[in-house]
Symmetry: C2
DNA sequence: TAGATTGTTAATCGATTAACAATC
DNA sequence: TAGATTGTTAATCGATTAACAATC
């Protein structure tokens, strides 16, 4: 564990980052714009882009205005221009080399997953501390022990790591990642990591997501049965169907 | 109270669901409480629980108070009691049977992933529309064609589906899921789904998460180099030294 | 021009945090 | 009792939406 001093330390640079929610939506806008472009469209209004993604039109404009003025009043946004701009904002107008740490089921799957490569994220080195994994070859890369990470980070210019180790190994692995100089971690381990401020983490907690779904289904079942009781035979206007 | 003509769609039931963020944190509280319990602790204060997870203590209390009064002033919360309560709230005090739809890399991985099973989520049937997948056996389950989903939903009492198909197949697959009577979808396909209100969806968009990380790293690198320039120029102008 | 759509301000809505009486 | 901690209200903070002048 490095300098834990969370909180009030020198955050001023960080404070300039756009709110989490904005960036998530920008990512969605970009993908949708690419889809529109493929269909041959050249301009798009905030209203149309928003409707497709379930986002208010004012929100689309505000999100984009956060980074500059990219639209033409009366016309909308030029799709090709906006795509270039958004890629630059997100920092995906280039390739990123990543380490994959932990080659259990999830790690192996993410390695094969095509979704990342198409967007410039390349897994170029594999690490694990399990002796039964070290030396194995996946996608023509050999799994190396975690303590060789620093060296490889230098030789291959790794900037991000995907952390797919069990919860009880996560903090230790993360410490090694940090000391190797990597400054971005995509954390799939279901545990909070304590890290220095300069290291960026995005957590993907599959159990939390699934439990959220269980909560919703569980509670809409309850709501549903109450509604049934309430209006025994009145046809429930099941609002929007597909469309 | 139930059928207040609230705007466009009949959402009144849904409006009673706790905010997304609250549920996400409740899920984290539960996991942390289980960890505390394993270490033999019997009570916990909102302050201690919050600190461990990086959540404000007032927020912990408020989140829990959303569902009832579970604490003892001066003492804190009894861990074993709170665990039972939270499991009930989330609807994970029982088992959920799920369909896995799409057996590409990600689907296969999620099938093997241990994280779900331990929490009562069981994948009990596999579906795919790719002829090369149908009939194959994974974890002693045979992949069936998607159009047999409705039948299996009835026979096995499926309530949720994990959707792991490519983006361009997702809406069609989701329509079949919905028509089969399943009311919860964990969507890994990187595309928005258009679904009736009564169907619950939680989306897990790995590309969005990874792009968010890229954004953070990209921008903290910029911030970092500006900070370097700034401090360098304060006593060594025009220096371009790295490190 | 008339219609469409932006960027932006003001209004609204929701979520987080501080503060504190109640209470164990 | 004194110290600790809850549940909850009020204050703050942040995010979303409505509205509209500017402009293509």
């Amino acid at each position: 564990m490095r300098d834990v001093a969370r909180g009030r330390s020198g955050r001023s640079d960080r404070d300039k980052l756009a709110p989490k929610a904005v960036i998530g939506r920008v990512s969605l806008y970009l993908r949708q714009l690419e889809a529109f472009q493929e269909r041959g469209m050249t301009t798009i209004s905030s209203s149309r882009l928003g409707t497709t993604l379930g986002v208010n039109d004012a929100q689309v404009r505000k999100d984009l205005a956060y980074f500059g003025q990219f639209g033409c009043p009366g016309i909308g946004y030029r799709i090709d221009e906006l795509i270039v701009v958004l890629r630059g904002i997100l920092g995906i107008d280039r390739e990123w080399s990543m380490a994959l740490i932990g080659l259990g089921n999830l790690g192996q799957a993410l390695l094969k997953y095509r979704g990342f490569r198409g967007r410039g994220f390349r897994i170029v080195a594999l690490f694990d501390n399990d002796p039964s994994k070290i030396g194995k070859v996946f996608e023509s890369m050999t799994v190396a022990p975690l303590d060789s990470l620093a060296e490889t980070t230098r030789s291959l210019d790794l900037e991000m790591a995907i952390l797919c180790v069990p919860a009880d190994a996560a903090q230790h692995a993360a410490d090694i990642v940090v000391s190797s100089g990597i400054t971005g971690i995509l954390n799939f381990a279901p545990t909070p990591l304590v890290l220095p401020d300069r290291v960026n983490v995005v957590g993907v907690d599959l159990s939390v997501q699934l439990e959220h779904l269980a909560y919703k289904v569980h509670n809409s079942q309850i709501a549903g049965s109450i509604a049934l009781e309430d209006s025994a035979s009145s046809f429930r206007p099941t609002s929007t169907s597909l469309e």
